[in-house]
């Protein structure tokens, strides 16, 4: 009787996180469960808080991060950015746009042979520093570039 109850509770508690994740739309039909969306990071209004949410401590500037972006963005709604990390064992790249209302822009986790490289287009509200944050072997590295924006792209 008690053994049955314990088994049932154990099975239910194992299933609960999956049930919650499925309900939240986080569960995907691919083989891996994705990382949970970093809500506190994406809601942070200060770059320092966004960095904290990523677990960043003692970030070192690194010349082995190549951040390619225009010096002047014609259209703040579509700013092309490409980041390559040449730091060995890069686990992830995150992008911070300092002066955006919510500085944490996006995060990219690499696995199973993906190169530490990403290319995308950002929205920038105004001229700002764009910071690439690389996590490699549990340590953090950054590269920063200022992008001038003439027409802001945050929708106002």
């Amino acid at each position: 009787m008690h053994q049955y109850r314990r088994t049932l509770l154990k099975a239910m508690s194992a299933a609960m996180p999956l049930a919650i994740a499925a309900g939240a739309g986080l569960f995907r039909s691919t083989s891996a469960l994705a990382a949970a969306w970093n809500k506190s990071g994406f809601d942070a209004k200060a770059a320092a808080d966004a960095l904290k949410s990523l677990g960043v401590a003692n970030a070192q500037p690194s010349k082995d991060i190549v951040l390619t972006a225009p010096d002047i963005a014609e259209n703040g709604a579509q700013v092309p950015v490409t980041i390559t990390s040449r730091i060995p064992n890069t686990q992830s790249i995150s992008i911070i746009v300092d002066k955006n209302p919510f500085p944490l822009n996006s995060s990219y986790d690499f696995a199973n042979g993906a190169e530490s490289y990403v290319s995308t287009k950002l929205k920038m509200g105004q001229t700002s520093n764009v910071i690439a944050v690389v996590k490699a072997d549990g340590k953090f590295f950054t590269a920063t570039r200022e992008i001038k924006v003439t027409i802001g792209g945050c929708g106002g």
């Binding site: 691919t30 709604a77 287009k121 945050c154």
Partner: protein, 105 residues
């Protein structure tokens, strides 16, 4: 959402270079429509890319990614004929997915 997703994967050196274009409004929640009403937040939060079924890229996006978002990534050790899948999930729980086969260089 007008156009369907587009994807292209091609060998470049020892890596498959993948470019994906997704069709999505990526609303920030700051924009006003013609009636002057705020259009609610509605954006792709998560993108997963797989190579022959294994997850290679796990992406978290915010509303500050451009409308009709573009994503480029590379998979080392991939070969022509390998399968690449890209799946997105947005703030409403909606999903989009596309797959392709890696083309030779």
């Amino acid at each position: 959402m007008a156009e369907p997703m587009k994807i292209r994967a091609k060998m470049e050196g020892d890596a498959a270079d993948v470019k994906v274009l997704m069709s999505h409004p990526m609303e920030t929640g700051q924009r006003k429509n013609e009636k002057g009403e705020l259009v609610p937040v509605h954006f792709i939060q998560s993108v997963i890319a797989t190579h022959n079924g294994k997850t290679v890229l796990d992406v978290q996006w915010s509303q500050a990614i451009a409308r009709n978002p573009f994503l480029g990534f590379r998979v080392k050790g991939a070969k022509a004929g390998d399968k690449i899948t890209v799946t997105w999930t947005d703030t409403t729980g909606d999903k989009g997915s596309i797959d392709t086969v890696v083309a030779a260089a």
